[in-house]
Symmetry: C2
Subunit: 393 residues, 2 copies
């Protein structure tokens, strides 16, 4: 056969919905020499990963680890461990990822009740009170940062409601973790999952998860085996815990990447990291406003790291994204599902959340919008973003 | 919090049951700049990965791809897509991984019938004929290279028997792929999975899989949804195929590693690669024989890449493995399950299958065995291995 050409990926600025820009230290970590999955060094690294993940999730949960697969497998892991056939689960759906969670739960055997809100809006306590009172679910699932709409879902009040109804709260933190505060213990979240490729500046391939002691009690008293062997957290806990019982062969080099990513985030400090995401979001939003571009998500509930904005009338979505990629090496995301062709998704996640990216993107977008005849004051986008940065102490 | 120490993995020679030594070109590939999972470059890389995997599996199967998780998830992927609740599956169990497959299948809802053989032995057609005639299963699962015992299972004759009984043949090729011939089309295998971390010289994290057109027909006519959303190959096929429909965020950098690993194996040539594994196995076996060390697997059915050998009487298993690691940086595997404490598993997989590793290991083992008072002619192990290499044209 003809051997494929040498590996030569183009240099990209990753400002889509993820993967985000990878920190150079993380890329370097990925290529370090591999050790075995039961090597004393690797076991010690796992301990450090767990410790740093607990700090990131703001939890004392013993069962805090990384699933050896991407964020969607994290979703599946939390669902399949909590759900037994015919258990009732309420899933809050206001975008693609809530819809996915409902599908995952049905496959796990749950009787799923979908609570729905329009795309771009968030759920409040009153939306859910009657549903929970009527359905009395075992588990309530909700997406904290809906990557398809850019909406930021408050969790704390809903958690109180869920626990008043004796249900377990399952939270999708794929896009939120590392970019905005996630308080697992403070908000009494029972199961949570994330992905390595968003605000952690690490390539896709690992899914941090955490289960509360209450969730672990439910798992321990299951009447049926978890439907997935690969994602059975009781077995995974024996490998991550002091038993070190072999389960599967852990993805060593991806773990190096996550380890370095966690070192970076804790080196910066969580509060500084959240502030950086917020600052760059405000700068981007100020710039976009000058270009006449509006946000898709409900006001007051916009994610800093995932800016879903409406494509202006008369602008060719595909052409803009293609030219951004080909001429500037910038990747942004198109719309998914109901937002397909209507929305751009501009990520400022992790290492991508920096002023250089914001200015580059706004400058490039100004050029492309001008080419398509869009009316705005040239230079105003970049100037508005810079005004935000200049205003910082 | 205290930030964890800088990443600094020790240098190891990986001669256990996997991960095996990673080729330096693969390590370099892992750290290349990340692109998006829908980037034209990445889509083209996926095409090349599929093409190279088909060549490696020796198949024309359209559905040939890598699952975004480790080899055990490859097992789960093949099982859950073929099995619907109450389907009957015969699983051949003669080691840990056959047992695991039975567990996975039960969780998928299968009525599992275990066909058993003693550890270290293989199945022949007569072992299975009456079971298949009686049970009439939908699927028969078998492990080609049982990593817990080092036994090499012939597939072709059993495949004929399975198809005479109108069942689908599911094969575990985690350890075999790349080290011994795997003929998916030639042997009419319906579903097969492997792992990146064995004879492909790539870190763990991806699971190559392939399904025959016959298997795909069965999947298309399912009455129930696949229990795993993450591993549903119909959806995965839409991403890997021409639709490029978003499913999950692919593990970009791990794919770089697999791509480079596949380029290496096809650059060497499959036949050369198999011959290299065999040569180093013969050299190792000759050396071990001089040290009075016997194989655990049935004669005539010993895997070249996974040498499971009996620990000599009076030798301290844990101490030998600890000293190999601490003094020489060599990792070998201990026994699993029924073979715990009784067997060492010496891997010669992929990049680890080279003469330098064989000589280093035999030399180190001679030193440690001598320290524990084991009787043998000093130098004889290394000399015997060298005699094999010297005898090569």
């Amino acid at each position: 056969m003809t051997v494929a050409p040498p590996l030569n990926p183009p240099v990209r600025t990753l400002m889509g919905p993820g993967p985000s820009d990878i920190h150079p230290r993380v890329l370097e970590a990925l290529g370090k020499n591999t050790v075995g999955h039961l090597d004393p060094y690797y076991l010690s690294l796992m301990d450090d990963v767990q410790r740093m993940l607990r700090e990131l999730f703001r939890t004392q949960n013993e069962l805090t680890m990384a699933i050896s697969a991407t964020g969607s497998a994290g979703m599946e892991a939390t669902v399949v461990n909590l759900i037994e056939p015919d258990d009732k689960m309420v899933v809050c759906v206001n975008g693609v990822f809530g819809g996915r969670m409902a599908d995952v739960a049905e496959r796990a055997g749950a009787k799923v009740v979908r609570a729905e809100r329009p795309w771009g809006e968030v759920f409040n306590v009153e939306d859910l009170r009657s549903v929970l009172a009527k359905e009395r679910p075992k588990v309530v699932g909700i997406v904290m940062a809906e990557t398809s709409t850019g909406a930021s879902q408050p969790i704390e009040e809903i958690s109180k409601l869920v626990h008043e109804h004796d249900a377990l709260l399952l939270v999708d933190a794929v896009t939120s973790l590392g970019g905005i505060p996630v308080e697992v213990d403070g908000w009494q979240i029972d199961a949570i999952y994330s992905g390595s490729q968003k605000c952690l500046s690490c390539p896709p391939g690992l899914a941090p998860i955490s289960f509360s002691p209450r969730a672990m009690e439910v798992i321990k008293s299951r009447k049926t085996k978890v439907r997935s062997w690969y994602l059975d957290v009781s077995m995974l806990a024996s490998y991550w815990g002091s038993d070190r019982a072999y389960h599967h062969t852990a993805p060593i080099n991806m773990s190096y990447g996550l380890y370095e990513a966690l070192r970076l985030i804790h080196g910066e400090g969580l509060e500084n990291c959240y502030a950086r995401h917020q600052l760059n979001h405000v700068a981007l939003a100020s710039g976009l406003e000058q270009l006449g571009i509006l946000y898709a998500a409900q006001e007051g509930h916009r994610l800093p790291m995932l800016n879903a904005v409406k494509i202006p009338d008369g602008i060719d979505d595909a052409q803009i994204r293609r030219e951004l990629l080909q001429r500037f090496g910038i990747e942004i995301g198109g719309g998914l599902g109901a937002f397909k062709g209507k929305v751009w998704r501009i990520g400022l996640m992790g290492y991508a959340a920096r002023s250089g990216n914001v200015l580059l993107f706004l400058g490039a977008l100004e050029q492309l919008l001008a080419e398509q005849g869009h009316k705005f004051q040239h230079g105003a986008g970049v100037a508005a973003a810079n005004a935000v940065y200049l205003d910082q102490p």
